[in-house]
Subunit: 414 residues, 2 copies
């Protein structure tokens, strides 16, 4: 994209006020590889003893950084010291040369931090299939290391953007054992968003003292209800990554299992941070003009509910109707029908903006097109569907499909 | 759509010259229900002894006509006398009232033809969820019956259009036992196109003497390689229907099984007619500017090859890149990766317009962006992918995703 995109109309007012997380410092720089006049490189440094968990794209063609992080995490939890992220080049489908470029970056970061290469996590986002020029990054590492600061979260969120029109952050404070711990998260993503394990890049850090195996369980649960419940365009990235770092600086007692009741508040707050970040990704969906919540109930299983909800969320005809503020609920029925999951057509009920639209397999006698159209003219659309066969439900979030999406993606590289 | 859409730039030059099929007569009329100044109703009459086979949408919310045709076909093959199709209202998600409206239409047609209601097949296409006003149709049946004519195939193809910008027909002559038989087909469809058993409405008639159970086998095979291999927007309709009628007027010897070697030429010609109609649907894809053929080879199974090819065909990012004439092949790799089928990233090869683009997991050294871009500027795009794990292949057809698609679908009902 040559032209700068206007800030999404669905963006939150402000970046949240994020307090430091003990044991975490950040720094950003401009490599000039792809974007002019902005930082595109993020280094996060973690104190010794930081545990980490990660979830990654299920793509069969994952990027070099996804392969790398998976490999390091497989070595065991608990020894991560740094995270290096570049925006503009995904280092995906770049073969052996891409892997060597990554290793050069990891080595340069390790040298500055004073750790092994394997203790450096890497994230890359941007164009697929273009070789990463490591020298543009490695040369900046000494300066980056000097700049590391506990208060640079917003700058970090700014630096990892690609077509994002705003920086995405979310934070919370949770109590473990009566001790306050912080949870800070940043994310990027606005296109190629169709969750499957994780979506695009999101990094969450806490000063809680939680071992890696427990972190992994908490993260999986948080991702299930957040990043795995959003879709902008049904396209799953080669680079999807969500990582959770725990520096262990907080003074609460030892945690050894995810089911520990002392984690209850932490789990809730972590889920909230992940959900907030995921919904911000949707709010920055390429060309988005409407934020859409889709709740499917009455399904045979949670998996069926999710598949039906995603079938609605990913339907180009539903998304264009919403862009046109047209209460064309027949397309919602179509999308339920094509999902391939059990649904009772003759018991199906649809509500838009909480208003009755259809029930028992046909238009609801109480349906008021003018009321529903008024709701469609807002920028937050809610769709509730009951498929009438069971008791399971799922909620997913998406955005509409507009001319803006075509504009952005018909000339992304030029 | 209030404004009339311009004819697709991908449309064939002319409607084919279709000779009569012995035993088939057609007539069209204007009900005025939705479209002004054009016919929107088609009656086809078949002589006694006409066999029929049909394939229908796998949607869990099928239209009343799909339910009806399935029910009649289940009663046994071989007794169909008429087909009545209306455009503008899909009679889908209309409950018991929609079924009663359908029965009124079938009864009115049966009265004119002199057969039972169950011998009348029904097709409806258009808006979902709006009650069909049967009186607008039943009143026209006497006049329609008087107009029936063996030479009205083009008028029939015109009458069943919705957002289609051109009428779709294909025909062939085949030899069975040395006797010439005709195959005539018409189809409609340009949005909500994602095949699953069949796509939108297509009707094929022949004067061959082939019993219904054999017809069904031939039709299933023809649909597999044609209507089930196209996608415009990944949205599967509530109304998809493909039917094959055989009047038995031709003088060849009795056929009792699909494997009969005397059917060889007929099968080839039937497959060709179905493929031609299916590709015409893609050429009339809503807003389409490019016709795209995607061939995936080296896959683990034919099903895997098809799923990977459809993953590419349905990717909004691939489709918008092609609309922008951008050789952004990284998105093709992304779409292979997200398909969920076995693929060897490090053996993956991509060709566009027959030109080398990527191989062995990275950009091909022989890649010439200027040559590939020249191909992208044409209106017929070919993409070949080898996923490097097996020997199976599949070809699917789709179109690009343009501003025109948004224009058409953001205000379809208004």
């Amino acid at each position: 994209m040559s032209a700068k995109l206007p800030r999404s109309p669905l963006a939150p007012q402000n970046f949240p006020k994020m307090l430091p997380v003990a044991g975490v410092r950040l720094a950003t720089a401009a490599s000039g590889a792809r974007y002019q006049g902005r930082d595109d490189l993020l280094l996060m440094a973690f104190d010794k003893g930081t545990a980490v968990a990660g979830m990654f794209t299920t793509s069969k063609a994952p990027s070099a950084p996804v392969d790398w992080c998976r490999r390091q995490l497989r070595q065991g939890w608990g020894a991560t010291r740094a995270l290096l992220v570049n925006a503009g080049n995904a280092n995906a489908f770049t073969g052996r040369k891409g892997d060597l470029a990554l290793q050069a970056c990891a080595a340069a970061a390790a040298k500055q931090i004073g750790c092994t290469r394997g203790q450096v996590m890497i994230g890359s986002t941007g164009v697929i299939g273009v070789l990463l020029d490591a020298s543009r990054i490695t040369g900046l590492l000494p300066a980056l290391a000097k700049k590391l600061h506990p208060n640079a979260w917003q700058a970090g969120a700014e630096a990892i953007r690609t077509t994002d029109t705003f920086a995405k952050g979310a934070c919370a404070t949770a109590l473990i054992d009566g001790i306050e711990v912080r949870i800070n998260g940043i994310a990027k993503g606005s296109g190629m968003i169709a969750p499957d394990m994780a979506t695009m890049l999101a990094y969450v850090a806490t000063d809680a003292a939680i071992p890696g195996d427990v972190l992994h369980i908490l993260l999986r649960k948080a991702v299930q209800g957040s990043f795995n419940m959003i879709s902008v365009d049904s396209d799953t990235s080669t680079s999807d990554t969500v990582m959770l770092f725990a520096t262990g600086k907080a003074a609460h007692g030892a945690i050894t299992r995810a089911g520990d009741p002392r984690l209850r508040d932490f789990r809730q707050k972590l889920d909230a941070v992940a959900g907030d970040l995921a919904r911000q990704v949707v709010r920055d969906g390429e060309g988005a003009g409407k934020f859409i919540s889709i709740c499917v109930g009455g399904a045979a299983s949670p998996r069926a509910a999710k598949r039906i909800a995603l079938s609605i969320a990913n339907s180009p005809l539903v998304k264009t109707a919403i862009a046109g503020e047209d209460a064309n609920w027949g397309r919602i029925v179509m999308a339920v029908g094509k999902a391939g999951e059990a649904a009772n057509r003759d018991a199906l009920a649809v509500r838009i903006g909480g208003l009755p639209v259809a029930r028992k397999g046909m238009a609801d006698p109480a349906y008021s097109e003018s009321q529903v159209t008024a709701h469609m003219q807002g920028d937050e659309i809610s769709i509730d569907v009951d498929v009438g066969v069971g008791k399971s439900s799922a909620t997913v979030w998406t955005c509409d499909l507009t001319h803006g999406y075509i504009d952005i993606n018909a000339d992304y590289r030029t």
